[in-house]
């Protein structure tokens, strides 16, 4: 019983002291699950390279979740860095400002490719944004009129595609990847298929035109995946003719199970994405609170370490994992803008 009492006393004491000893000596990061593997590699190597600093804590929780935590305010009980697989929105900057986070530094770390892949046993697949739009949009144009998507098989969309039921596992609406999918595939396909003209004739508001273009069919043939890529992989395992959306690094780690599709005739790889040939890619970012630089030990060093060529260069561990390195000049620019203290 005495040990129990002692433990209880120790706990109470630690709670009491916890409030006082608040000077945090460990970097706290949260955000995008796409950036998470990269941030983990950097955090781990950072902890090993700088024994004076503790290994940063990297939480997952999605770009929006991370930025929400980030915009809670300034101080040791708020996070220092938010990882994001999309640029911060102006509404989020406003929310940050309202909470006192006035100085945000944006750091781009490179690019991530979005690939379409199917089971390794299938034939080669050549996709066009137009075909994907025709197969997955909620409404398409037939004879100049907008109608609910009638296609049930890929071959109905384009005879060169396989004669299989349409089943596409696409990122759910809260995913950062969804935005790229909408902009680079559906919106492009919408225009290429000539649906944009018909939509323009029907609605005048530009935002609504875009929303109509990227609306995905809800009849169960396009399936939103709210989990991670492992879930998409499991779905493809179960339905061999399904097509899933993955990050390039995830595909490369599972290339023995998956077959990647070309988009507009280009096979995705770090080279084709870096050169801009492969159309579906997006920049990855993290956001730093300037007010925490110099307050949280190691924060400045972490950002400098992250942006060094040892981490995000073309021959770095992150590139090996699947990050598409930004061109040399852009990396210089990224470092210079952080050094210069440029805020948003």
């Amino acid at each position: 019983m005495t040990t129990l009492k002692l433990t209880a006393a120790a706990l109470v004491a630690s709670v009491a002291f916890g409030g006082a000893a608040m000077a945090r000596d460990q970097i706290q990061i949260a955000g995008s699950s796409t950036v998470l593997p990269y941030a983990k590699i950097v955090a781990e190597t950072f902890g090993e390279t700088y024994p004076d600093f503790k290994t940063p804590i990297v939480e997952s929780g999605g770009s929006s979740g991370g930025l929400k935590e980030f915009c809670k305010g300034v101080g040791p009980d708020t996070i220092d860095i938010a990882n994001a697989s999309r640029a911060i929105k102006s509404s989020e900057i406003d929310a940050c400002k309202a909470a006192g986070v006035t100085e945000i530094q944006e750091v781009k770390i490179g690019y991530d490719g979005i690939v379409f892949a199917t089971d390794a046993g299938n034939a080669d697949l050549k996709l066009e944004p137009k075909d994907l739009y025709q197969a997955l949009a909620a409404e398409i144009v037939v004879d100049g009129k907008l109608v609910a998507n009638p296609h049930k098989k890929w071959s109905e969309v384009n005879p060169s595609l396989p004669d299989a039921e349409i089943a596409a596992y696409i990122p759910g609406e809260k995913h950062g990847t969804r935005e790229v999918f909408e902009e680079k595939i559906l919106a492009e396909g919408c225009e290429a298929a000539g649906a944009l003209e018909a939509i323009k004739a029907a609605v005048s508001d530009e935002k609504e035109q875009f929303a109509k273009c990227v609306a995905v069919r809800k009849d169960g043939l396009a399936i939103d995946i709210d989990g991670d890529y492992t879930e998409t992989l499991a779905r493809i395992d179960a339905n061999k003719s399904g097509i899933g959306v993955f990050g390039l690094s995830f595909y490369e780690n599972n290339a023995d199970k998956l077959k990647v599709a070309t988009v507009s005739g280009v096979t995705p790889s770090t080279e084709t994405i870096a050169s801009g040939e492969y159309p579906v890619s997006r920049p990855l970012f993290f956001y730093v609170k300037k007010a925490h630089l110099g307050v949280i030990p190691g924060l400045k060093e972490y950002v400098e370490f992250f942006t060094s060529d040892d981490m995000i260069g073309p021959d770095s561990p992150l590139a090996e994992y699947g990050l598409v390195a930004a061109p040399d000049a852009e990396r210089e620019e990224i470092r210079a803008s952080f050094e210069g203290g440029k805020t948003m």
């Binding site: 608040m22 593997p37 983990k40 024994p51 290994t55 804590i57 009980d77 492992t230």
Partner: protein
Amino acid sequence: MSETSTTPPMTAIGISAAPARRDIGLGRRYAAERRFRLYGMAAIGFGLLFLFLLLFSVVSKGYTAFQQSMITIPVEFSEQVLDRNNERAANPQKLMTANYPIIARDALARQLGVTEGDRATLREISGMISDSVRAQLRDIVVADPSVIGTTRDVTFLAHGNLDSAFKGQIDLSVDEKNRKVSDRQVGWMNQLAESGVLAKHFNTGLFTNGASSRPEAAGVGVALIGSLYMMLIVLVLSLPIGVAASIYLEEFAPKNRLTDLIEVNINNLAAVPSIVYGLLGLAVFINFAGLPRSAAIVGGLVLTLMTLPTIIIATRAALKAVPPSIRSAALGLGASKMQTVFHHVLPLAMPGILTGTIIGLAHALGETAPLLLIGMVAFVADVPGTPLDPATALPVQIYMWANEAERAFVERTSGAIIVLLIFLILMNVGAILLRRRFERRW
């Protein structure tokens, strides 16, 4: 009486004609009972089947995680590579930042008989060694700088991809460029395995290491300690509070509208989704009380809130089950109300209380949702020294590994599930042993 005497004796009629047997549905009732037993057995069989399937899938995928491929070779701590200009005395930082992976790579190249290699060959050799070798060799050198210039046998981890290939988890029949190990690496792997340099050892790192982006070096150490801290906090806080609350409510509190309301609320709280407690924890413990994010103490406090209703309900049921005669006897012998409760009722209710506590703790052990909002679903590499340091929990580690892209994390996910199950079994065995000690029959 007179009526019975007038009726003829039964035997008299019985001889001439046996009465028709009254149909009381005996056959039907027996059949119904047999059917019910069959349903029951089928239900149990169904449950056992799924339990078996679960255990089979977890164990068959996870048992390999307890073994790890390691390479044991003589490593030359070359002064040329580590400290070319002999400046370690003046600048100790030099030894921290030296290029340790190179000496491991060179040692492996020598072992493989690759003397002159182009860059691509050397890269492939590097690709067989875990990156964790850097920290491992550095620790050796920093602990004892005199090792520089000598050669010593070192056992280090093979790269995660090589480990997966060695365990047969990578399909080697597919095209070389579609897998993470090259044909040349497979050849070297077989060569090393034959000479006994590459071998599987018991994976102690799985229990001691923290999270890592390299699957071969990742372990549940941080999660295990985090879960342990949280369970201790939950036990120490929720057991006394829960038992005190239920004793008061059950034995002392007047029965009125207010206590009815409290009872309804406690029952409601037991069914509240756990994420709600996470939100509460974030608002109260982190934002208001200023406790650190991601710390085991906040997790423990949140789980305490979550476990309390379970413990209170179980304890009240256990107290109710103590026969009133025990109370009456104690009171009748002159014991005070409090003596009655603490000397007679509580010891008899103890087994029930312990069962309820363990169910509550087991529930808390498996919880991830409330930990998400307080920052415990995170990558934590450093082992926490106190409950105030950042930590994760076992189910969180399972969840995070399940989302990893590398093949080598698949076995680790199942391995971590096995560790969690063992943790649970130990807790339950502890509860059964305690219950045996306290059990009293009347």
